[in-house]
Symmetry: C3
Subunit: 436 residues, 3 copies
Amino acid sequence: MTDPTERHYDREFVRTFFTTPTAVEGEDDSAKMLRSAAGLRGIKAPDVWVPDNEDATAPSMRAEGARNIVDVVSDHGADFPGEIHPRVVWHRERPSTRRRGFEQMRTIADPEGGAVEHIDGFVIPEVGDIDDWKKADEAITIVEHEHGLDEGSLSMSVIVESGEAELAMGDLREEVGKPSNNLERMFLLVDGEVDYTKDMRAMTPTGELPPWPELRHNTSRGASAAGLVAVDGPYDDIRDVEGYRQRMRDNRAKGMTGIWSLTPEQVEVANTAPLPPETGSWLLDVGGREVELDADGGRQVYDGDDLSLSETGDGYVLRAGGDERELSEEELREELLDRTSYVPSMNDIVDSMEEFEAAKEAGKGAIAMTQSATLEIDGVTVDLSKDRMWDEATYQAAQTPITLFQDVYEHRPDQHDELAEKYGSDVVERATNVGD
Amino acid sequence: MTDPTERHYDREFVRTFFTTPTAVEGEDDSAKMLRSAAGLRGIKAPDVWVPDNEDATAPSMRAEGARNIVDVVSDHGADFPGEIHPRVVWHRERPSTRRRGFEQMRTIADPEGGAVEHIDGFVIPEVGDIDDWKKADEAITIVEHEHGLDEGSLSMSVIVESGEAELAMGDLREEVGKPSNNLERMFLLVDGEVDYTKDMRAMTPTGELPPWPELRHNTSRGASAAGLVAVDGPYDDIRDVEGYRQRMRDNRAKGMTGIWSLTPEQVEVANTAPLPPETGSWLLDVGGREVELDADGGRQVYDGDDLSLSETGDGYVLRAGGDERELSEEELREELLDRTSYVPSMNDIVDSMEEFEAAKEAGKGAIAMTQSATLEIDGVTVDLSKDRMWDEATYQAAQTPITLFQDVYEHRPDQHDELAEKYGSDVVERATNVGD
Amino acid sequence: MTDPTERHYDREFVRTFFTTPTAVEGEDDSAKMLRSAAGLRGIKAPDVWVPDNEDATAPSMRAEGARNIVDVVSDHGADFPGEIHPRVVWHRERPSTRRRGFEQMRTIADPEGGAVEHIDGFVIPEVGDIDDWKKADEAITIVEHEHGLDEGSLSMSVIVESGEAELAMGDLREEVGKPSNNLERMFLLVDGEVDYTKDMRAMTPTGELPPWPELRHNTSRGASAAGLVAVDGPYDDIRDVEGYRQRMRDNRAKGMTGIWSLTPEQVEVANTAPLPPETGSWLLDVGGREVELDADGGRQVYDGDDLSLSETGDGYVLRAGGDERELSEEELREELLDRTSYVPSMNDIVDSMEEFEAAKEAGKGAIAMTQSATLEIDGVTVDLSKDRMWDEATYQAAQTPITLFQDVYEHRPDQHDELAEKYGSDVVERATNVGD
């Protein structure tokens, strides 16, 4: 029997979804950008590359764009390290657009062109409710049959950019596996916030996009329930690397690991962001914000102005937010334990998992993991020791970043050197072996 | 074929939903408030006026209230500038209440009374799941037939004030258009947070209403998917104009343009809020808050204490949040570009759209729009220039406030003078012509 | 006819859901923890006690755990003041786990053991979509028949810890009452954020759980729409009492009154938190935060640094957030009215309800309730008087904490003494009588 939460594709995780115009007017070679993207390798190469024959390409250039995809992918597809999923045109409300999308897929998937063996699937934008998704699925089925490809061999990913499509994600699980469709080919659910904002008729004073937290939750949930991968839409301000990172942190807390990338620089940032850091760090809660402490010779130093600490003869005075409290050493330690948290490194996570696996082997169901540090605030140092109980559930949850790492390691050999450089070969090897 | 996202009514947007008690005890004329509301014109007159024969009117007065609606609307309905949608009683769990609602609609829609030709539809409160919506739809169908009105000529709006009704909004799209109902008559989805809070059994320490962001998202999405208009519930603290504005800003970022108004003063604020401002303004991000700068003789001045700037011989020192950084002129400009954003005026939006339309005509798919300003912080001035790329998608998204403006302009001639006074006749004329 | 929003069980509210391992290895008596929990009384005893034969108990001990439940519950169940709902194993993707869950229920519900007459129902973890819920329901039906119990006499509660289960809550209302299932037995919808986080593949830098606001909203809504009770998952940091309280405040604003408790200390905090406080208090909005004022001899004193007030000859100077404003007495009062809110005590709520009931009796539909206080800031005192209009809707919404109190009072006689001590017998008596 088909279980819809069982994944029907190779990659369990997709970090990056990188779009490239398929044909640019006024260049000697209209496929120049495609050719350049096809040459990306390593940390700058995306997990999913999307030759974009829709919004990134002028309508008048799309016929040429489809041919460019065939040319470039037949030449370079075999060597490209990520998956290749061209985006074609589609629209839930316009049959003529759907017909053009069908023709584009037909062209791209024609075995004569030599590209289809390197094409993993198609990206369908502007889908509507689930019956519209089935039309796209059927178009792909017909293309597969016409070209002698196995039914279901081409995956289908959609851009969710309408209220209807958001609702459809709630129906997907029960539609996948019905005998009258091939929706088992579904792969990515990608949010498209620009058009979604337009479709929802939302407005902000500065014209920047609303954050749409509920859409992202529903996309992530839809992916989880149907065994798919959730990807967030483009982050327009390509100068704002910190904002891009913050968005991805927020997405990961929603279970959405992937994000659109507009440039190879964004690809690099987004390929790296979901992997655990190479060194652990301590956070201190100061006035509601989490401040990362500076590691300095074994001490974790806070040098801001919003918290201050001094020793008295028999205790401490802690000042925070206009408040001043006298604390004994024990009370100070409690207070600082409450205010600190630890961001584990890849090595820390692997250590903890190995330790828990050994304990489980020895018949223990739960063990305490300890993290120690010397905090320094205004020159005063305090030794802290944080315990956390690990049981089977903690272990399973902690495993997500490791599973992601293993998925990357398995499918992206072109990134092995960069991973080894980042973490050290020893950590990389242990990380590939830990877990069930 | 019927497309559920195609709108089946005149107004594309509704800014204001204004309720009036239909019969007040102890007055010489129990319809006094109705008569007074019927006389509203211009910016104080709502887009949708709701003679409220439910919660705003005492149960014992509702029979008289229905007759008052007939009297007042037959006299003044022809001249009222907005639409008229009386609210009758209804309850998903009480057949006797539903029967009374049916009788009220019968009375109000009786052509003998002379009101129905000015009545645009009915507002049904306390609906439950979609089958309950169908009962209300059927009651209206019967009233239409009894009175010789065209089937579907009276619209139906609902108050979403239960978990069931929230869920029903997810089913609406596939129910509209079925031959066994007339749900194409649907017009507004209005949140009713007071009763919703009771139905959800939610509590806050001070008794104030929870913010219910998910409900508002789901209402906005339901409206988007079924081609309807989303309206937020009452804002009780009528003294708190800034809070009301903030709520509407938050709603618009969710795609919910309309809001309930309890007084003509709230109507004025809510009619104005979703329209672009008459002058643009600059925002500066200071400690996570966006502060509007004071325009003073061509400069944009920050005079708060949370950010300070001084010149040194060869650069600048910027202090923010306890942090002090030395920056070159270039670095300072980058930092300030990151911290500022611009709120465009109506004129700015029209300018940009016209410019993009001209570029598109000339075959260009994307152009850079520039916004310049001289910032002043602690007497130090810095010239900034912000670029934003506009492509077809940006253009389409920017269009929402203009489409709203055009919808207002078309349907509310009584507001033309006030709009011309606000923006100037030239801007108004260009705004009515721009866009596709 | 069956109305799914009609509750089919005794308790309208559940504050606490307390889990206990059923069998601990290496103890003389593996049921020691069960026996200890069975002895809880009063404010430390939960509304729902969950002998946990799933995650809290090692897999190898679960057969013994089921027998322990029978032993302990047959001995002590009659005297236990809360309901008893053992958790058995279950998994949407593993038939063998489901079979074991079935056998565990069979064992526990066998009348020979003498426990089942004290067992109120079963908790089913790891459910999937609605068809999986029906399998669990059917397993319980078979157990009921085998043991000669009335069909539907055992309730069923589920742990929502997958995207599928979250979606299923949207289908529940229309499935309950179908002749082919006994889902009317449904009682609690409990979020399980640890496994949900794993299922959604979400990650946070420190490994702490994401807040999942949308899941909690959907659970609360699902409970509201199907007449069930919503319960939040475990709060792991058992030292962090303030964090636990904050989480419950946040949950109550979503309509989710219950929460998991891991220790009798957490039970006590969670049994108390949703009840109105014994004394009212004033909140002052200072820089976006709500600060509780210190009641001191009839005055409400603010002694922080973020707001300061001084008298001039003919008015006042108020400093806040780097801003300094000169205000007349009237303006100051307006400003402080905007900045303050009042948290009513149990006595206040009962007073207001009684007053409104009397007014309604006298034919009035709305009355103003006044709350007065003397504020003191920097030694300057200002008298404030806050009015709030109460109509039927306000009255109904205010009733939720009183209905909760009455539910507790009716079902938990073991807490009567503690409630009388907290509020005074007079307030308790009036609170049990007020309301319809």
